[in-house]
Symmetry: C2
Subunit: 86 residues, 2 copies
């Protein structure tokens, strides 16, 4: 594996798992007032399109990373919608 | 441009600009208690590595998208650190 590949895998890993602490923070605190609905609506749709893009190109690292990110972004978006109504 | 390319560009556009409403929301509200520091620390580092990856590969769309995302993520991280201390 080249150094470039290694940097790419590290980048994909970090930007994917970074949403785990946000899901955990929001699950525990139910504090969603500071989270932008516009951001998560737009981001979730964008990640869904990345997933489609990966499937069309049969680029499996893109598919795997974006499936995980989609699940995490959807969780945050759902909590924003549910907890925000209280 | 193929349909696949179009989906890719739409995906890149959405996941990049999605951070604009979060920056705006946080600038106005200064409400950062619901934002995870772990997420933005991890995400910002990951986007920085995507930028390095794009530079190594001379993949300019990756460089451009991640330069913009890095600026936005850094803005959110900085506000989390500054406003969080109040």
């Amino acid at each position: 594996m080249s150094l470039g590949d290694l940097v790419g895998y590290a980048a994909a890993f970090l930007t994917t798992v970074s949403f785990v602490p946000q899901v955990w923070h929001t699950l525990r605190s139910r504090d969603v007032s500071g989270i932008s609905l516009g951001m998560y609506a737009c981001f979730t749709l964008g990640v869904f399109l990345w997933l489609i893009y990966g499937l069309v190109l049969e680029a499996w690292p893109v598919v795997i990373a974006n499936t995980i990110t989609l699940a995490l972004a959807l969780a945050i978006l759902t909590m924003k919608l549910r907890f925000g109504r209280r």
